[in-house]
Structure formats: structure tokens, C-alpha cells
Symmetry: C2
Subunit: 338 residues, 2 copies
Amino acid sequence: MKIVVDGMGGDHAPLELVKGAVEASALTEHQIILVGDESKINSELEKYKYNKEKITVVHASEVISNEDAPVKAVRTKLDSSMVKGINMVKNGEADLFVSAGNTGAIMAAGLFILGRIQGIDRPAIASTYPILGNGGVSLLVDSGANSECKPNNLLEFATMGSIYMEKVLNIKEPTVGLVNIGTEETKGTTVLKATYELLSKSKLRFVGNVEAREIPKGACDVLVCDGFVGNIILKLTEGLAMSILKLLKNKFTSGMIPKMGALLLAGKLKELKSEFDYSEYGGAPILGVKGALVKMHGSSNATAVKNTILKGIPYAETNVVQMIQNSVLELEEIIISE
Amino acid sequence: MKIVVDGMGGDHAPLELVKGAVEASALTEHQIILVGDESKINSELEKYKYNKEKITVVHASEVISNEDAPVKAVRTKLDSSMVKGINMVKNGEADLFVSAGNTGAIMAAGLFILGRIQGIDRPAIASTYPILGNGGVSLLVDSGANSECKPNNLLEFATMGSIYMEKVLNIKEPTVGLVNIGTEETKGTTVLKATYELLSKSKLRFVGNVEAREIPKGACDVLVCDGFVGNIILKLTEGLAMSILKLLKNKFTSGMIPKMGALLLAGKLKELKSEFDYSEYGGAPILGVKGALVKMHGSSNATAVKNTILKGIPYAETNVVQMIQNSVLELEEIIISE
């Protein structure tokens, strides 16, 4: 299998991307292709010892930045690392593309270059959400691609998320919950009420509405919501966890006795921090496009890059794209029967 | 001034409601009226020493529970503690009503009995959001009353929230932020883009879009969003904070050395817990109805009840309702000029 890494996307490119690729390469038999500015990438690669047969570089003269307007960038920067990398997946030269770059551009490039899986109206970003103290994750779909959704979109997210959870993350018969402001089926917006009905009729293991309060406890395996709500959930969690850790640190270093206590708890505090460390969890697949694309956090470090590559392999190996396509026919029957 | 307390609303009624009313009464010169089942409330009151001239009981034979359908309950349970208490505000027999009961029913009773402030399309719930480590709060409007909003509703929330923040919470020239999934003005749904324009034209101190990641740090004084997103923010924060505190406790009590460390940090851990303790912050006013109604958390204990009563007094004393009405004319000019 061949894995393409966008060497130029993200806040710490190419440094951390190259380092992460080297670290991943030592742990997998698969081929890694770094796409981007050849001279910059090579000068980073020179810092490390690695098997030169397992990491190759493909030159791309352009970069799509976070400031670029996604659609325009994808249409015009044809020699960018992102467009070039995703084209390699399209042409069968690679099986998986990972990037820490502009999320909107990855979505747009996925749609324009690979295209949607037949019958899927809206591809979505599926992010893992850590269940605290448990080591497990829920899958949050959509976590940012589609701000406004129709009931059939949310049904598609639930279906794609369930397939990914079962086939890639090995959760048998994953449960599906609809993120809502109350558990009763009459709660929420018009769209959510209609989605509740669709999900009830589906063959998915639908457990009903899930309140935000229950999400950190691992209310269900697949959390379904529109990309606006998903993005709020993901970013609020990140912001709140960081604020709490910072506050803990401040409180525990003020005064002699707390300092001594914090010293005794150092190992446990580190464990707590790692629970929130997205770099451990790998990236977020773009579900619904005809190929395996994985989006990493923009500020990914080498560990995050390494984990995204390694955890992306089973996604490309299992035929999730084909399985999603097979499931679409069934969805259409549910939607039409409404 | 007279404050009506719904003695029957909430998970711990009447016990904690009565206890909180007694505690508040010791700290204020104002009159407190407990509405509800006279015999139950009196048998709770008998447990305490209090100034009998400052706490009176008004009998109500019915209770609106959390299971009741709000509109129907308000229309039919005319002798419920909630309907009776809000009628006392309408009739000038009281200046403030506080309840830990069914949120939908408080909203419905506010609308039917008191009515909307002229020119306000949708009343909203304004909840305080703690800024960690700072002691301050942001005001989240709407935090649950209106799942689907138009731009003019959000402009109203911003205006009402700013007035409350300035007049009741004493924040001069409060800043207003629109909760969104990116800071650029082109981000988010169609409704949010139009709201951004309206807020820009208003006389409010609009600071632009605010990402969820920034909320716990105190991004601005008034956080504007629809009630769906507001409810997700509030409940996710509550759930995540509780999960983290639980995880800390588990980690800090496993093993001899961590236990010793936790002992040394006991005071600091207690401080951390109190940062998230909603009972310290008082309740959430229902802004936009013609009278001062404050909704408490359903599981409020006596401390929460006491604080809601005491912090509700400046709300009833300052003429926020009149100020909101005066500001509406200006809003209409902004909306029409669109």
C-alpha cells in the first residue's frame, strides 16, 4: 500500500510532517510518499536515518494555505501538494492521502477530484471524540463540513459513521445517537425531528437523542449532528480541556504545599493531559468521497502525523468506500418511504 | 420588594427551595413568598429559625412537573405554584419570580401571563457562563428557549443580553460576540451571516464571530447564539467538567503516592470544583417578557436557591424590562434598513 502525506499542509510543515512520516515508516511495511517542495522536504529528511526505499518525495511547486479560499485554490493551484496528492489517490498511484492543511480545501479537492460516492449527497468529516478515563472514542459526524443539513444528510452521516466505526475502529454493531437538546423524540429543530424518524426506520442501532451532557461519558459510538454543531462540540471540548489543565497548573503551583502535592501527582497529571491529546487519536476521515482522505489537526506535531498515518492504514485497507456505496440503496428506500 | 419562590419546582422541592429561601431571607431585607403546597412547605419551614414577617406562604394546590407538556400545563393547571407565582408578578403583588421547575413551562407561562415586551419577537434564556480562573462570567443568550432563530431574533438577544450585563451584572459597555465556527464574517449558516451584518450596524460593542474554543477563556461579555447551540454549549460544559473532575478524583486516589499528593492539594481541588459550581452563579433570567422571571437549574440545592434569590434582586430593582422596550425602536430601524 502507498500512503501520500501532504508535506506542506499545517502549522508545522514541512518539519513535523517529515518527522512524523519517518517515525511512521519505522513502524509499517507500507510505502510513504511525501508531496511538496522537494528541496525543503529533502533537507528535513536528511536529519533522520530511514529506509530510503520506503519513503519517496514527489515535488509540488505550490502550497494551499489556510488563508486561501478553498474552491478557488483547488481550481487554480493545480501543482499544489494537496491537489497533486489527491490526484495520486484518484489515479491509483496511492491508497491513502493525509493532510494537516486547509480543511475546506481538502473537502473541495475530495469532491472535485475524487467525487462523491454515488448516492451520497454530502460528504462529512468524522472526528474521534475521546471518552474520558476509558481509552475509547465516539465518532462525531459531521464535525465541520456541512453547516446546514437536511434529514437525509444526517441519515447518510449515521450510515457512513457506523460503517467506519465497525470496519476501521472494530466496534461491532456500533450504536448511533442524534445530538439534541433533550432525549424525547419531539425535541429540537424540524430537521432533527424528521431525522429521528428516518433513523428509527433504518437498520442502524439507533439509541435515540443524546444530550451534550452525556457526550464526554461516551453516550454512543456514533454521534450524529450537522457540521456546525459538531464543530462547536469539538472546539468547545478542546478549549475547555485546555482551560481546565491550565487552571490546574496555576492552582497547583501556587504555594509550597500545593507544589509538593503536584510533584507527587506529576505522573497522574500527565495521564490526564494525554486523555485530551488529539495527537494520540489519529486524524479525521472525509467520509463520502471516492477515496481515503484523512484530515489532521492544523497544529499537528510529529506524533499526530505518525498516528494519523498508522491509524489511516486500516481505513484504506478495508473497503469502506465500497461498503458505503452498497449501503446507499437501502437509505434511499427509507427516505422515499417518508 | 417582594420575591416569589416556586416552592414546588425542581428535583429537590420543596426541601431545598424552602431552605434556600430561609438562607436568603437572613441576608436581605426583602419579603419572600413561597408558593406551593402549604402543609408541605410549612412542615419544611418549621425546621428553621427565621423572621416570620419576612417569609410568607401562599397555597397552590397543583404542581407542573418536568413531564408535563409546557403549553398544556400552563393552560390547565391554573392553581399550580408556577402559574400562581407568575400571576403575582403580573398583578403587581410581587417583583421577581424564581423557579427550578419545567423550563418550557416557565417560558410558556411568561409568554401567556406576562406577555412579550412590545417589539421583542422571541424571549430568550440568558445563562451565565463561568470564565475559568477569573471569577467573571459571560452571558450566553439564548441558552435554550428557541431552537430555530432568524437574524432579528439574534439581534434582539444581543441587545437584551447587553442591557442585562450592563445594568444587572455591572459590566460597562459589554462586548458582544456571535458564536460561530470561524472568525471570518463569511463563516457559518445563512442566518449567521445575515446576523453578522445586523450586529455590525447596531450600536452594540460587537467584536465579531467567536469560536467555541475561546468561550471558556471569556471571549466576550455577551455570547449570542440560537437556543439549540446555547443549550449544547451549556450542557457539554457541565458534562465535560463533571467528567474531568471525576477522572481527577479516580486518578488521584489510585496508589499511595498520588493519595498523599491529593491530600496536599485538597484545598486547591475544592477551589477547582467551585469554579464549575452553578449554584454559586445564580439563575438565568428569561429576557423579553414583561416581568422579572429567573429560571434555576432543575437540581438546585439550597445554596443555588439562595444565590438565585439574592442575585435576582438587582434584576428586579433596575428597570431592565423598560430599558429593553426603549431599545427596540432602534433595532427595528436596523432591521428595516437591511
